[in-house]
Assembly symmetry: C2
Homo-oligomer: 196 residues x 2
Amino acid sequence: MESTFTEMDSIFNRTKSALVEFMAILTPIIENAKDDHERLFWHHIYEEEEHRSDRLSILMPKIQAMLKNGLNLSGNQPELVHLLQDISLEKFGLHNFLEHLDLFLFQFKETELEGKIHPLRQFTYNDYQQMKVILEKLNLEFQGGSQFNTSIPTDEKEGNDSDVKIEAYANGNISGTPQAIPSKKKTLTVGSLKQS
Amino acid sequence: MESTFTEMDSIFNRTKSALVEFMAILTPIIENAKDDHERLFWHHIYEEEEHRSDRLSILMPKIQAMLKNGLNLSGNQPELVHLLQDISLEKFGLHNFLEHLDLFLFQFKETELEGKIHPLRQFTYNDYQQMKVILEKLNLEFQGGSQFNTSIPTDEKEGNDSDVKIEAYANGNISGTPQAIPSKKKTLTVGSLKQS
């Protein structure tokens, strides 16, 4: 389990640097937005990332302290449950970051900014996949599923709401760039996406 | 302090109904989006609101249980600190909802949907102002500020990042519709906004 927490620590460190880089790229875009609508849009995303940064600044030292002092994961102490809830929230934060980057790539496709965002997008995608595996492990280990596993994006939820899903974001279904997102999910199956 | 929790309970109930209504309005917009970019954009907002809904479903019974069983707010129990952190997160969630509604109003200005969203936007704005007052009260009461008061939007932060702020969203500065948001914050003062 220690390696799981070490891995999580690396993911949070990487995404913290990436969000700082993203916010720096957004700053002049917000300042020079062509109208109030565009300004509010990027401002809103900037603000969400800033909030994520603040949350990570509180969470990361807790994980690092656990790693330093040895993991004490026995029992079902409230502190541990809350730590796991916070981790679950940051899994969702990573998912949101991925979509923020994809929204950016849609608007700034074929500009010089595309080249700066693509690498962030690529490792964020990989890190998010890894975070899903980590959360599954933690769920199995602590059996506290319903208490902290609330951070399931729409695309990964089973059952309802299928009409608003983007299948390219569903489990095991996404490949590379946001340009690969199909607009009509019902015309594509898991198989057809895997082959594409 | 009991009246503060009763008021918070009302706010969360109102916003829970409002987000369900908003998600229902978003569903056909996502389904019929004109391209992948627009589809991802509304899908992303839908997903954030769905996540907020899931979090509120866990938080609201806790607040209701506290109200039913009598508030036990003495000391600095971990459970209480975490409850306050969760409340702080939902203050930020309410702020995000307000911006989601404003983004909607930008795109669907002068359509029949505008009339459906405006009332939600108006009471969400009022509820958010009220949540700020509630959080201030809780901060004073529990002196645990740094532990749970991390949910301060960019516009309300003091000091840095002023270039990306939208002054219309700053404390005590916003009036009505998003159309009132100035594009160049530096040309407007608190006074000029209050008079507008």
